[in-house]
Amino acid sequence: MKTPNSLIADVFFLLLGLFGIISSLTFRFWESMVLPLAASTVIFVLALAEVVKNLRRRRSVAAADTDGTSEALVDRTELKKLAVLFTWTVGFFLATYVFGYYIAIPLFAFAYVKWTGKGWLAALIFAVVSLAFVYGVFELGLKTPLFKGIIFGAR
């Protein structure tokens, strides 16, 4: 089985460090520059060390790899699952933004539980309980009205 390698994350932090250094240098006063510049420099230097260490290890692992079981950058199966999950999450976020919490919550709760293969009744009960919980805690308990969505006049 292939194991994940942190090269992608290392490169991400390397670029973040580089971006931080360049941006910090554009700040007008030294007071606003000190901390971001120092933190970005540390990120850049350490991430560079991680990238170099990783590339060296990948090379040595690849040289010793005879049966194609070397380290993988990403696990494709997990990536597919993550993409599906991410879509559900973004869908819920968008539904909340458009329709507001009190429509999006039962809709999402019902659809997700049904999609995972549960029965209609289980999905329905879960949707109702979720809505009741959020309404009870936020509207009644904390007296905090939740987002009504852009269609229904967001607060």
Binding site: P4, S6, I8, A9, D10, F12, F13, L16, G20, S23, F27, R28, F29, E31, S32, V34, L35, P36, A39, S40, V42, I43, L46, A47, A49, E50, E78, K81, L82, L85, F86, T89, V90, F92, F93, T96, Y97, Y101, I105, F108, A109, Y112, V113, T116, G117, K118, F126, S130, F133, V134, V137, F138, L142, T144, L146, F147, A154, R155
Partner: protein
Amino acid sequence: MLEAYGTAIATLFQPINLLIMLVAVCVGLIVGIIPGIGGGTMVALLLPFVFGRSADTALILLVSLHAVVFTSGGITSILLNMPGESSSAATMLDGFPMAQKGEAGRAIGAAVTSSMFGGIVPVIFALAMIPLIMPMLLAFGQPEMAALVLAGILFMSILTRGAVGKGIISGMVGLLISVIGYHAVTGVQRFSFGIPPLHDGISIIPLALGLFGISEMFDLVVTGQTKIAQTLNSKYTGVWEGVKDVWRHKWLWLRSTIIGYIVGIIPGIGGQVATWVCYGQAKQTSKHPEKFGTGAVEGVIAPEAADNAKEAGSLLTTMAFGIPGGAVMALMLSAFAMVGVTPGPKMMVDNLPLALTLLLGIALANIIGAVICLLSAPSMARLATVRMEYLFPAILIVSLAGIYAATLSPFNFAVALAFGLLGLAMKRYGYSRPALILGFALGALFENYTLLSIKLYGPFFLFRPIPLAILAITLLVLAYPYLTRAIARFKQRRAAS
């Protein structure tokens, strides 16, 4: 001082605070039981509820919840061979074999009693320490505090197993995120890219919920877990025998409690270190070390005492120095800020009754938690079999509602999602989420101390005696694994030649 104690006790025993504590303890016990949802996730989920509450009620809620998470964490270790909290893993080694031998009740009795007293006695240590550390706190100026904050962030990187570099990167990323928005001193906009919601910076609530709540759920679903725990061994007799076991091994329990407390005081050293160190010392000092791993009750008592003992120490450091001992305490630091309390030396002078209330709250929460656990451990363990089909949407719904309730900005949905993905990637690739949250929580404080120190003492303010000593100790601790490895290699080479 006596007056402060009186106020603290009166505050703690107010009916509303007792009610809040009872609810928090129940939630904390449930969270501790369910593997995957740690105390950090739950404290993050509860941060939105802190807004608008009085300081004592809000903080009692969070402190009580977190205090008992470790008490119930041991129950799943014993009954299901799966730790509810990562720091309860050491309890599995002997707890589960005891359950297999039909001694689940005895193991739970020992674990819960050890946890309870492990949570109470360190509070007495902490209360006794307050008058001793007061003069030291008052002697600390800006450079000393800047060095301490930096040490806290660097210590946290030790938690990133085998990758100190990645831990430091994580802490620095947290610092970098903390500077987003207007700089209070100069008015300069930093890293806000002209996006209006970023002008005031990033709120800890979407950040924490993304890093701990959403990413944890992503991870559990992506790794294909349908049920968190699969089996349940529910034979439950001999609880009283377990309670008596703690008395029989009282010196082991006391040693473990003291070790746990000391580990808690030092920022960045996690609960796992405390529990494994105590498990090791229990085995070393036992008359029957060969029985460890096969169901020795000492192997349950030692880690459980240490796990709860560290909390009082960690809370004391957070309140007295403003430096959180770990990720949960970093979130707690933000909660303090939300209710208008600034932890640090000033808190111990201006808000001493609140500090005492919270420490006493840990002790009381531990007693309530232990009673509930002893009465209902097998039923509670069934909660660990909750299915992911319900857990994922439930956490997502509560997170999203909490984010809006606390920040009133739908923009923060996107922030939480972005940090959810970042948190998942960090977890997968060996970076430290606790270090990031610590860096974020301490960023503003560190910047203020640093700028003031530079203005007062010049750019080499860290070369004053106390800051230099603090940094030297920190670097020594960070370099320790590399130094020992280098020395071992040197010795090997000398022996070979």
